[in-house]
């Protein structure tokens, strides 16, 4: 995949950061506004897609440490499931929200009615959102890179069917 024109690259470079920041905003405010882990992670992965499209896959590969993505993915998922286990460890139930309304970390109580919302509320939900966001970012980026390699192989003419035919002819 070739890099696109200079205009596209410049715009991508200036917009890309906003995409990432917006994704992080969507993730961390998931318990107050529409959005959450998946949506924010998908927005951030759009940034990776933007890099691949604008700069070409090979340059984008240098920007992203691809070998760390599976670890990221795993860490996000583990955060999620361990928080779910937390409820069971504390003797209540699996997925019990053991931080909500206790004070402390994400422990404030939200009042009912129209209000601007309190960031430090909702218990384990923001933490789970962050875990999911991490996982989705890593997962979708991996998918995008995998698809990039796939298109590369098709374009280079390494079509296995043709090879098999050649082998049969020979």
């Amino acid at each position: 995949m070739k890099p696109m024109s200079k205009i596209v690259r410049t715009v991508a470079a200036s917009i890309g950061w906003f995409v990432f920041v917006f994704g992080i905003y969507v993730i961390v405010h998931g318990h107050l506004t529409p959005g959450g882990g998946f949506q924010g992670g998908a927005v951030m992965a759009t940034g990776v897609a933007l890099l691949i499209v604008a700069y070409g896959g090979w340059s984008a590969e240098k920007c992203v440490r691809k070998e760390r993505l599976p670890v990221f993915e795993s860490a996000g998922l583990l955060t999620f499931i361990l928080l779910a286990f937390g409820g069971a460890f504390l003797g209540v139930t699996f997925f019990f929200n053991f931080l909500a309304n206790k004070g402390g970390l994400f422990g404030d109580t939200l009042p009912v009615g129209i209000n601007p919302g309190i960031f430090n509320s909702a218990g384990v939900i923001p933490l789970m959102n962050m875990g999911v966001g991490m996982e989705v970012l890593a997962g979708i980026s991996l998918i995008l890179f995998a698809m990039f390699y796939g298109t590369k192989k098709v374009r280079e003419g390494t079509c296995l069917a043709d090879n098999e035919k050649k082998e049969e002819d020979a």
């Binding site: 599976p70 795993s74 583990l78 499931i81 779910a84 286990f85 139930t93 699996f94 997925f95 019990f96």
Partner: protein, 522 residues
């Protein structure tokens, strides 16, 4: 609250945790990864046994997620259950036991079967555990939408696993075909759940069952659910994906995939008995299952007769055996509103059908694993290129004989016990059905005689000269299933009394399923 009280959730949470941790465990050592995968599934079996014991002592177990108390589905002040919950009765626990054993054997077998140099093994084990989680979740959940989610988890994981050998064009093709059909089926399940939600404003299966009144919307939802789940279970004429997917997946995956399809079969029975039950026209439902069953039995076995690919042949037999389960349970459903007939033969037919589910998971898993063992050494599925393997692979041969005798219904193996129950009870309902079932059994035997003759008997062909017995983990994996086949064959009374019989009774007992969540009965 002791930790064993969390046993219902630990059944799926332990494999889920290990599945997520595998990319990290893999960095330590491949042995750690494999051992963790095996350990999590063995732990699952143990938890299933704990839950089974609890059900024996005090009836269906309910586990509510995220609530203050796990065993209170309806806290005071609530008119209907809002939280996602697991609802485990005898039938669920029976299916979960069968599924978790099959998954454990699959992972043990994979240890040697999937060679390290094939690559992507971390992903393989992650997906394998996810597939097991999806299957167990489908069997345990009491929430309709949760059922859909687990269905999709199991399906998507199995798409990846079927296409694991991606250098083989046929594997990718099989995975793609399965994916298209399965996704459409899953979307229909979702649409049906949406219909039921729009009608009853709830997703809990017991709540829906309690308020079920048969209108046009419910009819549409019923047809969508039943046909989609029958397709996922592999009923003829929607069976084409089965022979592709089973035939091309790695053998360890196929052995578990049999159980994953059976989870859909469980969903089908749950929808028919617990959700709709006697409110629908149960003669229609019963005869529908019987017709699906007859078609599956006959077309499956006749297609198997002409196959020359060993795994594809076994896949067609899997379709044919599914027919027995549909037939047995369908007869039970057809007489559900007739207590005399139900007591005299309906319940027995259902017991036979349900017993056959577990037997099928065991002997069909065993047969697929032996086919995998042959593939491991010869690198071919083609029966024409085999011969004389009995001289070289004695364990595999013995296991194959046990599996083939069990699937053909030869005494004293487990297949005979369940098939005998089905024949004799179905005979009282309609003799013709019983005759067809017996003819199919004869054809099954004929077909496996062919496999045995081509692969194991005969002179030692040149290709087989250097073949050795398969590695130890594969022998152990096959051994576990073979031992279960023999034990269930020798002690069918125990299985029927403690596992299959109560499972059939719990399917019939529509009110107990509802009252364990809603309380107070109808």
């Amino acid at each position: 609250m002791s930790w064993t009280e969390h046993a219902p959730i630990l059944i799926i949470a332990a494999p889920l945790l290990v599945s997520f941790a595998i990319p990290l465990l893999e960095r330590i050592d491949y042995r750690v990864r494999n051992a963790a995968a095996v350990a999590s599934l063995v732990f699952s079996i143990w938890m299933v046994l704990i839950v089974l014991h609890k059900i024996w002592v005090s009836g269906p177990v309910v586990y509510v997620f995220g609530a203050k108390s796990a065993f209170l589905p309806l806290p005071s002040g609530f008119k209907f259950p809002v939280r996602i919950m697991f609802e485990i009765d005898h039938m669920s626990a029976f299916m979960a036991l069968s599924g978790s054993i099959a998954a454990t054997v699959g992972v043990i077998y994979s240890w040697a079967f999937i060679r390290e140099k094939e690559g992507g093994l971390g992903k393989y084990y992650s997906l394998f555990l996810l597939m097991s989680v999806g299957m167990l979740g489908m069997e345990l959940t009491g929430d309709a939408f949760n059922f859909f989610v687990f269905l999709e988890i199991a399906s998507i994981a199995s798409f990846g696993l079927i296409a694991y050998r991606r250098e083989d064009p046929a594997s990718v093709e099989a995975s793609f075909k399965y994916m298209i059909v399965s996704t459409i089926g899953a979307i229909f399940v979702l649409v049906a759940i949406g219909f039921l939600y729009g009608r009853y404003d709830a997703l809990n299966m017991a709540y829906i069952a309690k308020h079920m009144k048969l209108g046009i919307v419910e009819r549409v939802a019923f047809v969508l659910l039943v046909v989609s789940l029958a397709m996922k279970a592999g009923a003829v004429p929607m069976h084409m994906w089965v022979s592709d997917a089973y035939g091309r997946a790695p053998a360890a995956v196929t052995a578990t995939l049999v159980s994953v399809s059976q989870a859909s079969l469980y969903g089908l029975f749950r929808v028919m008995f617990s959700m709709f039950g006697v409110t629908m026209n149960n003669h229609f439902g019963g005869w529908m299952l019987i017709i699906f069953g007859l078609l599956s039995m006959f077309i499956g076995v006749t297609m198997a007769m002409v196959q020359k690919d060993i795994k594809r042949l076994m896949a067609y037999h899997a379709i044919s055996q599914t027919g027995y389960m549909l037939l047995g349970v369908g007869v039970g459903l057809a007489v559900l509103d007739n207590p005399v007939a139900l007591k005299s033969y309906g319940l027995a037919a259902m017991t036979g059908g349900i017993f056959h589910i577990m037997n099928h998971a065991m002997y069909k898993g065993l047969l697929f694993l032996t086919a995998g063992a042959i593939f491991y050494r010869l690198r071919t599925f083609n029966l024409n290129e085999m011969g004389g393997l009995a001289r070289k692979m004695k364990y595999t041969t013995i296991y194959f004989i046990i599996g083939a005798a069990a699937i053909a219904g030869l005494p004293p193996f487990n297949g005979f016990a369940s098939k005998l129950i089905i024949y004799e009870s179905v005979y009282k309902f309609n003799p013709l059905l019983s005759v067809v079932a017996m003819v199919v059994s004869v054809l099954t035997l004929a077909s496996f005689v062919k496999v045995f003759h081509s692969a194991f008997l005969g002179p030692e062909i040149s290709k087989v000269k250097n073949v050795r017995e398969v590695p130890r983990s594969m022998v152990i994996g096959m051994g576990v299933m073979a031992v279960i086949c023999v034990l269930f064959g020798l002690f069918p009374g125990m299985v029927v009394k403690y596992l299959a019989g109560p499972a059939a009774a719990s399917l019939v007992n529509h009110t107990a399923y509802i009252s364990s969540v809603i309380g107070g009965g109808m």
